[in-house]
Amino acid sequence: MEATTLQCLYKPRDYASDQEVKWCPGCGDYAIISAVQKTFSELNLKKEDVTIVSGIGCSSRFPYYMNTYGFHTIHGRAAAVATGVKLANPDLSVWMMSGDGDSLAIGGNHFIHAVRRNININLILFNNEIYGLTKGQYSPTSERGKITKSSPYGTVESPFNVGELTLGSKGHFYARVPDTDVKLMTEVMKQAYLHEGFSVVEVLQNCVIFNDKTHADITSKETKLNNQILLEHGKPMLFGENNSKGLLLNGLDLEVVTIGENGISEEDILVHDASAKSNVLHNLLIQMKLPEFPIAMGVIRNADANVYDKAFFEQMENQEQLSKYKSLDDLFMSGNIFTINS
């Protein structure tokens, strides 16, 4: 990436504001903010050109801790506020910080429509599968049967899969990353920035107080090698110790295979095409679940499409050229007018 080869204008810590960070000790958010600061630094973003918009929830305190422009709005509405910011000044780099409750429950409507319109905003979605700021109720991504303060006998509803919902809303950029891997988060966030259109980066984030280790099967040191697969555009879908395992397509389903067994060689393994127009394979990758499959990480979908803000301003410029009016006075005096003399 060209941006990374330039001399950095700011160090990551230059993006930190003077406010005391008030997340719980051990919270996954610390790693995320550090990745965001690294991303901005590596992208050479000017502090004044970045606007961070958030909703309500632990993750949404994020803007207060960044030395950029920031707006901590209301629960669920960050996507709508961010849309207004982008349309008021399309030159700004607009980032949205939100949680699973904020974006998928109370803000679900704004989320799907921002994705559908494909407006050029980058969303970092902190998914900890719980309501933290209200002290531990189940969220729309909590697994079925989850016992929480608001579901003492277990939930009787099925969760959203963030990636599925993004693709179902006609999304063109979706990535999934664990909060334990700052390097990967940084790489993925840079790609999200470079993608024109709405980018969804789901971070599997750990809530150390109310839902500790909920992602541990995926993210812990002991399990991550076999339970995660990092998808990289143009590379074969390999994972496990010494990349000994891989994915291939068997009919309409994915299958985990071992290289060297049953005559399988590396050539048989699927090669990741994040830019594919069709999202069918992306959906299969997103839906993979333990224990049968590893959890897909990295940029799973990154396809080109019409960008809302671009089309919005192109249409405006065309109308400026085409309009028969050159001023409001022209408009006011057009059509049926009549003059009364004294």
């Binding site: 707006f71 709508a80 506020v81 207004g84 008021a88 000044n89 700004l92 405006m316 109308q319 006011f332």
Partner: protein, 610 residues
């Protein structure tokens, strides 16, 4: 025989698919161009095509035009155009003796008469004996006028509103040219339809000229208006134009974030036509996204507006609180309709006043102003924007269905004659600046938008430190901030004109109005003043804060009566703010505007009481 009249009220009434709104609008445009004063009142059901032939499905368009005394669309029509028995039935209770009724006799069959709820054929019994009735076989005449064109039955049938309009044009000696040009323009890609409409209007005009049934026609002379160039304008169009003019005077792009809702949608539709002005119109996924995008656009430096009606206003409540807390300039236009809930979507009411002033969680003051006529929606939209930008606050502009859909001549304003608006933007670094540091006089903070170097800051819905704007849970700071936010709105009163009233010598009765009932209230008081009654009138556009001299005016009168289209909201607001006075009330909650007659009766009663 020709009779010259001061002013006339015509009502076009028919099925909601009969084209009554179009007939009314075309007639309005012509009378406006001929220099008459006009006021209109469209009245239609909320269903797009309500059941045919029923009273519930009747769509009406009333227009009052004339030389003088046109302050309202008029109480009752002088001429009723009834396209079917239901239209006649729906209006019969509101006709004065000697009113002229023009009706389509072809539409009176046994079935349609029953459907309208008449026991007998009203054309055959004495139902209409008090009126001058013109029975014209409009449907069959229209069809025969169009036989050469080879149109199908349905298309020919749809021209009967235009044929009827031709009759009305003749009645009032109004020229056809403008309407003919309208058809040529509107149907330029379909010359057959253009010709059908032109033939129909001429046929109607000629029919009226030749038949003996119409014994006289009328002339209404042009009004004596302020010299200038005029055009006909609806309240919603005037609102849209006022917003565009204000943005230009502020030197910032206009942003509208909105969601379709009756009767406010026309404002969005008007603005979106004018992308050439760099106006950004965002049709949001819901009312909440409408206002939230507006708040985002305000944060990023646009003149940001959202438009809605009552139910949408309810959804925007939480976000208005955010704009209060972050002290961002936004304008919220509420074109009021009948409530609560979905209520009466197409009918007028003034029942969102309390919601505008107090309808939020916490102590959450905003500026509330209202428009009073269709044309002055332009001025009040401009003023709402000025206050928002110069006082860094959300401003709610209340109009109402009656204004939004109503039309009147507007003396066209040029951009040159409008005042500059000075946004409180800070564009270069000031060492003493803090996000919530205030101006001593207005208590406003500065508007520093993203993209401005070295001034990065964060705002949000959590309570703010009174100077730095950082999050603060300090108890004393919260109390201070509540008082500052209140005082900031109160100080807007130092920057608005004093309240005026009409009737300097009066002592007995003061009529108080607000919002869109101005014309009718003015008309009623004006007539009583001419009769020598001891009565005065004051009309409020600034609701919160009230003009500073309000109490001084009230103190001059023995009695005060507050007239509004709700159950007493402004009266109760005044009782809370100025409890030293006693307020009588006149309220109407029927989804309809006042009539001059009912107001005069009430005022006379109060004037006669000891």
């Amino acid at each position: 025989m020709k009779t010259t009249l001061e002013s006339v009220v015509i009502k076009f009434a028919g099925d909601s698919g009969d084209g009554m709104q179009l007939a009314g609008t075309l007639f309005t445009d012509t009378t406006a161009v001929m220099g008459n004063s006009i006021a209109t009142f469209p009245d239609f059901p909320s269903e797009i095509r309500a059941p045919q032939g029923t009273v519930a499905g009747v769509s009406g368009f009333q227009i009052h035009f004339g030389t003088s005394g046109v302050h309202s669309p008029g109480d009752t029509p002088d001429i009723l155009v009834a396209m079917n028995p239901a239209a006649l039935k729906a209006n019969l209770h509101n006709l004065k003796p000697a009113c002229t009724i023009l009706l389509d006799s072809d539409a009176f069959s046994k079935k349609t008469i029953e459907k309208a709820g008449f026991g007998n054929n009203p054309l055959e019994d004495d139902t209409l004996s008090d009126f001058k009735v013109i029975e014209a076989p409009i449907t069959s005449l229209t069809k025969s006028a169009l036989t050469d064109l080879g149109l199908d039955n349905k298309t020919a049938d749809r021209c009967k509103n235009v044929f009827t309009l031709g009759i009305v044009f003749w009645l009032f000696s109004e020229p056809l040219e403008q309407t003919i040009n309208f058809f040529k323009q509107k149907f330029k890609n379909n010359p057959t339809i253009a010709e059908a409409n032109i033939k129909a209007i001429k046929a109607g005009y000629n029919y009226a000229l030749t038949i003996e049934a119409i014994k006289s026609s009328f002339t209404v002379l042009p009004a004596k208006k302020v010299p200038g160039t005029y055009r006909n304008i609806t309240g919603n169009q005037a609102t849209a134009w006022g917003l565009m003019a204000a943005a230009q005077k502020a030197g910032k792009p206009l942003f509208l974030g909105s969601y379709p809702i009756t009767p406010a949608t026309d404002i969005m539709q008007e603005l979106t036509k004018h992308k050439w002005t760099k106006t950004r119109v965002f049709q949001a996924e819901d009312e909440i996204a409408g206002i939230c995008s507006t708040i985002g656009a305000a944060f990023a430096g646009n003149v940001a507006v959202t438009t809605t009606s009552g139910p949408g206003m309810a959804l925007k409540t939480e976000a208005i609180g955010l704009a209060v807390m972050t002290e961002l300039p936004i304008v919220i236009v509420n074109v009021q309709r009948g409530g609560p809930s979905t209520g009466l979507p197409t009918k007028t009411e003034q029942s969102d006043l309390m919601q505008a002033v107090w309808g939020r969680n916490g102590e959450s003051p905003v500026v509330v102003i209202s428009a009073s006529t269709p044309a002055d929606c332009f001025d009040w939209a401009f003023e709402a924007t000025r206050i928002a930008l110069e006082h860094m606050t959300p401003v709610i502009l209340l109009t109402e269905s009656y204004l939004g859909n109503g039309a009147e001549p507007w003396r066209i304003k040029s951009l040159k004659e409008l005042p500059e608006i000075k946004p409180l933007m800070l564009e270069t670094k000031d060492a003493n600046w803090q996000p919530y540091k205030r101006d001593n006089e207005k208590l406003t903070r500065k508007w520093v938008v993203p993209g401005t170097p070295e001034m990065q800051h964060r705002i949000g819905g959590l309570e703010k430190d009174e100077c730095t704007g950082c999050v603060s849970h300090n108890p004393q700071n919260h109390e201070l901030m509540v008082k500052i936010r209140k005082e900031k709105i109160q100080r807007v009163a130092n920057f608005i004109p004093e309240q005026r009233y009409k009737g300097k010598d009066a002592k007995k009765l003061l009529v108080v109005g607000w919002g869109g009932q101005f014309g009718i209230l003015f008309g009623a008081v004006n007539e009583l003043q001419k009769e020598g009654k001891d009565i005065a009138f004051t009309h409020f556009n600034y609701i919160n804060p009230l003009p500073k001299n309000t109490a001084e005016i009230f103190s001059k009168f023995d009695k005060i009566i507050v007239c509004e289209l709700n159950d007493g909201q402004f009266a109760n607001y005044l009782r809370a703010l100025l409890p030293q006075f006693k307020y009588e009330q006149y309220n109407k909650i029927q989804g309809l505007p006042f009539t001059v007659k009912e107001l005069k009766n009430k005022f006379n009663q109060l004037l006669e009481e000891k």
